[in-house]
Symmetry: C3
Subunit: 155 residues, 3 copies
């Protein structure tokens, strides 16, 4: 259990580092199995709308998303910094762990200004395979309902 | 020791989650034994005023506080996100652990704007009972001296 | 390994606490061996300029820096709060560990306003000595290129 907890924390750190380093092409490789990725708002989530903003369920869809970002060339104009809190283990079954983890993403604009881009929580499903934790599903629940540019960024 | 460290980190994550999920009625159940809860500012704390803003020393007082919040209906208009750093163990005696933990609380306003609501540190006393850590006392030392609305929110 | 990971996380928490508590005179004691301390920006770092803003390679230089801060009397007018993420272990050789750790530093101005002062990552070299991790080199890579006052503060 304690071991799983630490493995999840590390997997989340690597995930965030991949985005903050602008290695977006690697981002889809953090997903395994069902490869489910959703973004929604807290308000939508309360209403049962888990995929209110973004839904993907294959690595291909995640890869397409990155390509679209690169073409739109929006992402390059700013950078991001994820600060990720302690995960809470919600359930642990044979080979499956569900966790919830708070996050804050700061955005650094080209002129140097830094603000809070998003806060929220990751609702994750990890599967244990060969002693490793593999992210199978991530639902990103953003606290704010104002999400214009969220569409651009993997969270 | 390492075990205690991780248990404290987890207890703090659950505490924060309870507040950020707006499950305020559960908040008092995170306190045990002496049930001491104080909020002060760094400036007051330096002057020995540990309970400069809020002082409670029973679950009943904490419950009353939540009732007041619900009646005032202030809390619902915004939401909060706690990001909690690594705890530092200050002392560990037989069955008692004192720790200090930095925190940042972001506030998400109804229009979607997000700002830093408070930063500071938790000065906690945990007692070990049956292999679990139980929060007995929490002094919240806020870095900022401007604390208008702090009175409204459990930190 | 897991042990080293936790030891690094704790050493980083103590380092941050030293600065946020305004115990700057102790700050140089967190460095050992080569005592290398650099601050640069992400843009400079990409260009191979690791010491774009600050460079020190002895405790004496770090101590001088603190003295200069105290004389300039700039530091006292505001306070800081470091929120440090999970470290990623980049490499682990016999007795040497390289890690990367994201951070966010909030600044609390005297009037109570709080903003994001800096975000970035620590690139650290720790040496293992007698079961302890000793910080030998820290390169602070700030995300933002606007770093006026960074010159004043240990990060």
């Amino acid at each position: 259990m304690s071991d799983v907890y630490q493995k999840i924390a590390r997997a989340q750190a690597e995930y965030a580092r991949c985005i903050d380093d602008d290695r977006l092409e690697e981002w889809p490789t953090h997903f395994h199995g069902a490869c489910v990725y959703k973004i929604t708002t807290a308000a939508n989530y309360r209403d049962g709308l888990e995929a209110g903003i973004v839904f993907a369920n294959s690595r291909g869809m995640l890869t397409d998303r990155v390509s679209a970002l690169r073409e739109a060339n929006i992402y390059e104009r700013q950078s991001y910094r994820h600060i990720i809190g302690q995960p809470s283990i919600l359930s642990e079954d044979t080979g499956e762990v569900r966790s919830e983890t708070p996050f804050l993403v700061a955005r650094i604009l080209q002129d140097g200004d830094t603000d809070i881009f998003a806060t929220g929580r990751y609702l994750d499903l990890y599967k244990l395979e060969g002693g490793e934790v593999k992210l199978n599903e991530r639902t990103v629940v953003c606290d704010s309902s104002r999400i214009d540019t969220l569409l651009a960024l993997p969270l």
